[in-house]
Amino acid sequence: MRATYTHLKRLLLASIACVLGAALLTYAIDPLQLFRPSRLAAFYSDDTRVQNAGLIRSQSFDTAFMGTSLAIHFRQSDIDRALAVHSLKLAMTGSNSRQQAFVLERAIDRGARRVIWEMDDFIFVDAADIESDPYLSVDLYRATAKGIASYLFSAAMAKESLFALLRSVPPLREPLTRAAPYLPVKFALADVDDIYALPRDFDVAREYNATKTLASFAYITAPSRRRFLGEGYDLEAMVRHFEHDAVGLIARHPDVTFDVYFPPYSILQFVAMRDASPETLKIVTDLTARIAQRLTLLPNVRLHDFRAIKQVTHDLDNYGDVIHHSPVVDTKVLKWLAIGEYRVDPKAPLKSLEELKSQVEAYRVPQ
């Protein structure tokens, strides 16, 4: 019996030793670069909700780039070149305004003096409060004891640390680095520029074309799915979130310049609402009218509206579905931002919106 108790004690003590060893390994390797910039060759993850916490701490930057999946494929190097800035891309696919404002606040605290913010209307739909958001660890960003503990005492991070350690062994470095993107490890990208960026040899025409865009339009406007178009859209709640998350953040940082832009969706996004859910279209236009009127009054905001640029939004070959544009349009967006083309005039904040409304009304879907 005594021997069994000894076995039990040994098992539990060995487990505690393993837990502490794993935490020590993660601390030493620090795959997220939360404590220090990497001493080994740095690697990055596509999981931007986690990765951003480390990027904000380990990278140097003067500009933060924020957005949803509409802004996810931009490359930092392109942003830097086009806008003559030292940027940090923090876009998070499917993110809401609570998450975006929270992450931006951390970036501003760490030195961002300019924010480029791709703003979708649907980021303002109701979602979990940031303090209880299951998809974004505020404690990790704030580096609280709980956040640090969840980082250090994590099997996933221990696995990443072990892989990073193996990758630092000279004979293994080259083959493991090449294999990493194809292995089930998260920190696989050797270049910060590659985070959620499309490969340079990406076949744009295959993924972005009118056939796909029209198929997506037919899909979302099918009678059985129409109701999803308006899911979560409630003007009052959206305005409240806009005021709290966007205006609140901007007002708290008068020394930071905010370049906010409405992305160039395909015209079919609005036509889908026009045909299948007109009440949603009304909410969207009312909300963006409110945003335009409010933001153009703020001295540190430059608002850009790309939604009525007919030569882009009506050319369905630019899209992979009704909203997501190709990298070719990414380049154009950077150019427009750089030269200030399509900047909303504070004296006529609704001009481009009115133009968009007429386009939506007049548009006939190709048969």
Binding site: M1, H7, R10, A14, A155, P181, Y219
Partner: protein, 478 residues
């Protein structure tokens, strides 16, 4: 409360264990009451609003059981008592579990807008089925009178309460009555910790680890061929390790209290036929459906055609038990159809010659696995339409992406497949014999090397390190 949570592992379990054994030195009844109270606390932490329902259900069924066991009722009175008990149980289950589903269908049919807002009490399916079995056995005269604390503990016993296994009173209550189980048995505690560690590792590292890949098929609007297959396979393995992990943890925790729970999993993906699959997957549910539904329906005693009808009815209801949605009904119907085909095949095809047995078994295993994967698509999809979309993609090899993400997913799925098909299961590894009340004999006899203990400690460490704050069990809401 989740088994895979720090409050449970570091606080709740040690406290309940310590109290149980401390009281066990003084009395045989006090630990039972303590464990029942602990179980109710465990339930209350996860869903305090349903505790009253659980207690009412226990009181109601114990009362009916009392009528059937102790009261001297005539045959018609006994039949009426059983009917009252079973109807009451099914009524409560029906209201809480199926009212929303019924309203949804009525709305679809008649254009009405009835919308009952009823939350599903955690574990209701498990404790209702457990008690229905008790009533039926009491009616059949197979139950001796039980004290209320033992009965209450049998229903609420926290290792099984939320997601099974479905317990049988004849197996459990005598164990609760035993004096020996109230004294700490270091061997059982050691084996319990190891089995719990294996289960925790399966859940936190394996099931939660592959979970993100499921989105490839089930959250994409139009998945490609490879994405649909990888997502469906990822879900197939996620569900396996999730449920198997839970079952192991339940057995491990219970073993620390000196109580043997029935095995619920026996490497089901190694099955070479659907019939065998159901003898290996959620074994206690299969037994329940067989003993309390399929056999009372007539089983295979009324000819081949009625046998198939009974099989279909049993599996349809089994599907509906898993969830109130058409996807679950289709999942059940598919398995019913698979079982019919399997039985028809066995009846029509003569025995396979010796030389062909092995290839035949391999082909059977592959076909069984594929059939199970196809059915899981309905089980996981949010709607029938979504399931058909995934299946359509799985049948269209002309659309293949096989990019960076897909290759990484393929590597992961291959690793999981190797674990499932080449690895031993927990009961084999630990020599767990539920019927013989034996476990870890090799460990006791010192035949296992210290390496085994250190490997177990690593598994426990990684199981604990893998705990995430948002990781529920798939079977929690059934």
């Amino acid at each position: 409360m989740l088994f895979n949570s720090y409050p449970f592992v570091l606080l709740f379990l040690p406290t309940v264990l310590a109290g149980y054994f401390w009281l066990g030195r003084r009395s045989n009844l006090a630990p039972v009451i303590w464990l029942a109270l602990g179980s109710i606390t465990f339930y209350a932490i996860g869903g305090w609003q349903f505790v009253v329902l659980l207690l009412l259900s226990i009181a109601f069924n114990y009362g009916i059981g009392h009528l059937l066991i102790v009261a001297k009722l005539g045959p018609s009175g006994r039949r009426a008592a059983l009917a009252l008990g079973v109807t009451g149980d099914l009524l409560v289950l029906g209201i809480f579990k199926y009212a929303g589903f019924a309203a949804e269908n009525i709305n679809a049919l008649f254009g009405t807008h009835v919308a009952p807002h009823i939350l599903l009490p955690v574990g209701i399916s498990f404790y209702t089925f457990t008690q229905i079995a008790f009533l039926v056995d009491a009616y059949r005269g197979q139950v001796a009178a039980y004290a209320l604390p033992h009965y209450a503990l049998f229903v609420t016993y926290f290792p099984h309460l939320i997601a099974g296994p479905i317990l049988h009173h004849k197996d459990m209550i005598p164990q609760f009555e035993r004096k020996q189980s109230k004294h700490p048995d270091p061997h059982l505690i050691l084996c319990g910790v190891i089995i719990f560690a294996i289960g925790l590792f399966k859940k936190t590292c394996l099931a939660d680890g592959i979970q993100p890949l499921v989105a490839l098929a089930f959250e994409a609007r139009s998945p490609s061929f490879d994405q649909a297959w990888l997502g469906a396979l990822a879900y197939t393995f996620q569900l396996y390790f999730d449920f198997s992990g839970y079952s192991d943890m339940a057995i491990g925790i219970s073993l620390m209290f000196g109580i043997f729970l029935p095995v619920n999993f026996n490497s089901p993906y190694k099955a070479t036929s659907i019939v065998e699959f159901w003898r290996r997957w959620h074994m206690t549910l299969s037994q329940f459906l067989r003993d309390y539904l399929y056999i009372p329906l007539g089983g295979n005693r009324r000819g081949r055609v009625l046998r198939y009808v009974n099989l279909l009815i049993t599996m349809l209801l089994g599907g509906l038990w898993h969830g109130a949605a058409w996807t679950f009904v289709i999942w059940g119907a598919l398995h019913g159809a698979y079982l019919c085909v399997n039985h028809a095949f066995n009846a029509l095809v003569p025995d396979v010659p010796g030389l062909l047995v092995r290839p035949f078994r391999i082909a059977g295993a592959v076909l069984t696995f594929l059939a199970v994967v196809v059915a899981w698509v309905f089980f996981r999809a949010v709607s029938v339409e979504w399931a058909l979309r995934v299946l359509h993609a799985m049948a269209d090899p002309s659309n293949i992406v096989l990019g960076r993400e897909e290759i990484a997913a393929l590597v992961m799925v291959a690793v999981y497949a190797a674990l499932v098909w080449l690895g031993p299961n927990t009961q084999a590894l630990m020599g767990y014999d539920h019927a013989g009340r034996r476990v870890g004999e090799a460990l006791r006899a010192g035949r296992m090397r210290p390496l085994f203990l250190y490997a177990a400690s690593l598994v426990l460490a990684f199981g604990i390190l893998g705990i995430q704050s948002h990781s529920e069990f798939i079977y929690f809401r059934f």
